[in-house]
Subunit: 338 residues, 4 copies
């Protein structure tokens, strides 16, 4: 950490700054430049409470030089982590497309969804039994029994399942139903109590990016999970909130190579929620794979216009099939497989 | 709701659209203009699943004409709601400044905090026993016993207490300790399970705005609480995330008059988290009151530089005292009292 | 255009609204619903001054149903426009990578730049003689003679040139030097006097997106050029400003398919300015092509670390060569060529 | 400037870094910490081209410690600058409300506007003869003769005039008509050729903030004007672009105290363009003054609903009069006058 000293700081204020630094167990190292005096801090800067030095009268600015994340960082582990889910690798050469409906509706809908996902060549399936909805008056998800419909439908075609956990009180249910990957949604990316709890599980976690979460905050959210013991974390970019209103969110493809540099963990992309429209999914999916994503989360439905939610963003079985073919060509063009 | 029809829609696609509208229990009303055909929907448009019409081939655009919130809206209740907490009105002519430390640290710190808050003329006190922190490696709050320190310190000077709830499993503890106002923090504004649970309580709720929540989403989050039975909700603007990096967040003063027009509920402002620096608090506080806020949430600490978190944003007892004097003059200038 | 009437509007206010609508040469059509009265406007809604109806007491909300752009829209021309520049097509099956240095420095630097651009297989060259710089104290571009260095170097290898125009007073110089494509930069996207002037030229225009310009504003800026007579416009997405600080801007790939749907004009992408770092350029370039971009604007320099500006974002000749190979495979995977 | 060295940098890469630093005329000072090596640069870091060090293989991060602006900074001049315009001080104890119509329409409209502005107690008048409009098909301003209408109307009541300059070719006209303050609009904040030209004039400049300009960019834009000789600059905050769509822009009141700390120049606020609605103007105006603004730019019109542009954001003469009374009370409450 580096502290820039105010040009007008008095000797007394300067002494107070140095004393405070030592009190936190760090060693100050003063360099006097032509326009500013700078104090370097030797030792683990993470010992300092946030804002502790900024509040001192001598201080103009405090600049951290270390990144606040450890376990999830490339510095901690330089090789790519490949997460295996019932034999299916996520984060390796093979790209995984996780498809399925926005929400679990009925056993029949899940059966035909699972068949379409399987037929398209996907190796994992997604679907939500508990839905975070902006309005209390809209469909909130089928709930507990939804997990049964999902489990049976996916088992029938041999697909591992991915589903969202919103409430710590549902963890036992998720474990009992053998959910293969637990998704932490956008709105819960900084629900720290939930992160701590899934950090104690032995189940891979998909951690979606918050709507306006910075890369650093997102990595720190993953660090919460890792710090509690669970290192099997998959980042999922799903579009960020900006000033643009012509589409729901802005898919941040730059986040893909940046994350791949900062962390050893897999990175996937959700083009369906990013764009918010089915017709945008193919182009966004191709861009994500071309930019280096390890996989996708794609919404598909046996009959999109009858979906109970997000009807305008689900792909039909035929569209999913076509997409898989298109993506295979992109994957090969960049030396990967699908 | 109004549906704009694509100019190239076929008669068959148009018929399909009308049929779907009727299936949802609504009555379509077609108007043919020179450049576009428009279909108005008679009936309660809230019956429509989101995206249901957008996915149809005839549809160019769907425009809601009703607001999605009811119970919290001015249309539902035209007069200002005043929420009384142990005799103290929030949302009336009198402005309330809720001050206290970012986090509960020790019994002694809470005692001197409470005395300073009382001495400055504030009528309610804030403090956090559970802290949502970006990093898992920083101080996470004192926890359960923190509520005891807070309760005793506040009782000694007769101040009702406001504290943040992050986890549904802590609700019983909060009730047992008699927390007077429960705060739902920024990161939990769309933690819908938590909103539902506090919606079942008989305790006023301060609902902080999410970092990038729109006014509509914020009102809908409040609607969750109201729809579950608890109508005593206070909105707290605390700065939004933008492109600007010169200060932590951008205090959105425009939200104050806009909310006061849209909802009958009280609106307060947190200048401390918005600006992130103690020296900004006075100017932001004055702006908030001048713009019509019903109160403030201000961080203060007996000795800011020794605070365990956010040391650079807390006011000292003397600064809090001065601020109260300054605000009193603004309050009088706009015909209110403090 | 559709006007939503306030539920509490009086008959007199309603009458005033209808009268005003007629005064603007439009025909009002009133529909009374269960919760709101809605007035449709027949006729060309572009006749209405902005805000004219919003200011009336009866009006709750005004919703346009037509898009404000005409000449640049797909509705106006449904087939893709291909712009030919000295025989090189932009907007067709073939993808164009326009490479070259951020700024023109010396005749020698331009010569070796041009050779590297040509050797890599690019068909057009970029370079700036006039540079928009945030600081008045940094290098502002070589100026007039820079165009000569550029022209000679590009002519020697037979490449058409693209360069930025910032000042209306330089138009004659640009014409005299035979600039093949004039670039309007990010900061001038809404410099309307400049847009009007280039609208009168017979030279293709690359119109970069403003840092926080919406798709609609960008299309309207192009409409300015088209409305003054110049229909040869190429859109260039170059990253938008968001809250994220881990990279310079966020490349908005969603803008590519959305623009391709809204306009018949070509769309290219500048991955160099978007990411701001050379190491990000390959992944962003691949994403852009995969998402459907018609070309790229890429910064390259004979010796990046010695570049007079943006040294950290230019590709070396070798990196440019490698990139072209990688992009060729992506282009083929999506049925295009490079 | 401080350079953080990559932990994996080789001795050779490190040597190369030090050599480059010396080549730019700076002196490197190496400090080896436990986790990172840090190089301090002694000398004027403004000598370094942007990105010059970032591109070197040894470099992890470059952190400037000096601010890039000089002439406009508090460090350069610690006392408040008061700009006098025909005897009227801007930036002193007295607050100035500059009112008038969005656009000059007719001599008669300007006459009654001027009378209303004068009657309300304002000491300066605003109005636009040249209008930057998003659409080429809407009213673009009356043009040259508009300045005459404005000049005559304002002279009749003795008010100095403020009007926007968009095109360098109109400077002579502005000087000839004796425009008292030239406004540089939001879309031209980084039109550097325009900034350089007004930097050569002896007329005060109101520099509006770009829609998504950071504080630093805004100060640098002013630095352009100052560096060319004109030090009479007034900053005008007018709302920034964010994700929120419930109102046009977000008035950034935090910018007021931050600017007052960073620069010695006056800061005013435009509440009309920020909120985009007349009904928001009073609350936003009060907030701006309470936060320390030195003045306001307010749109007013003799008959708002008949205004040729922005009809929904202009105040009527009566509303302007009432606002002035309200603001006077706020001004007194903070020890200023109006």
């Amino acid at each position: 950490m580096i502290v820039i000293v105010k040009p007008q700081a008095t000797a007394e204020q300067m002494e107070h700054l140095l004393e405070r630094i030592r009190q936190f167990g760090l060693q100050p190292m003063v360099s006097t430049g032509s326009e500013r005096t700078v104090v370097g801090l030797l030792g683990d800067e993470r010992l300092l409470p946030e804002g502790a030095l900024e509040s001192l009268p001598a201080v103009e600015q405090v600049m951290p030089i270390l990144k606040p994340y450890k376990l999830v960082s490339r510095e901690f582990k330089s090789t790519d982590t490949v997460i295996e889910v019932r034999g299916i690798p996520i984060g390796g050469k093979q790209i995984q497309v996780i498809a399925g409906p926005c929400s679990v509706e009925t056993p029949e809908q899940m059966r035909s969804s699972a068949e379409a996902v399987k037929a398209a060549g996907c190796r994992l399936m997604r679907g939500g039994a508990f839905k975070p909805r902006t309005s209390p008056y809209t469909f909130q998800g089928v709930g507990d029994e939804g997990l049964d419909y999902f489990r049976s439908a996916a088992d029938a075609v041999g697909l591992p399942i991915v589903t969202e956990l919103m409430d710590v009180r549902k963890i036992d249910l998720f474990l009992e139903k053998g959910v293969d990957i637990i998704q932490i949604g956008t709105r819960n990316m900084q629900n720290f109590d939930l992160l701590k709890e899934v950090g104690r599980l032995d189940v891979p976690i998909i951690l979606k990016r918050g709507l306006s979460a910075t890369i650093k905050e997102w990595l720190m959210a993953a660090e919460y999970i890792a710090a509690h013991g669970n290192h099997r974390i998959i980042f999922a970019e799903r579009g960020i909130r900006t000033f643009e209103t012509a589409y729901r969110n802005v898919l941040d493809v730059t986040a893909i190579p940046v994350l791949k540099r900062e962390t050893h963990l897999p990175v996937i992309v959700d083009p369906s929620h990013a764009g918010g429209k089915a017709w945008l999914v193919p182009q966004l999916s191709k861009a994500a794979i071309a930019a280096g994503a390890d996989g996708l989360l794609v919404e598909s439905h046996p009959c999109p216009e009858e979906a109970w939610c997000d009807a305008d963003q689900a792909l039909s079985p035929q569209q999913l099939m076509t997409l898989m073919g298109d993506l295979r060509r992109i994957a090969e063009a960049i030396g990967r497989e699908l």
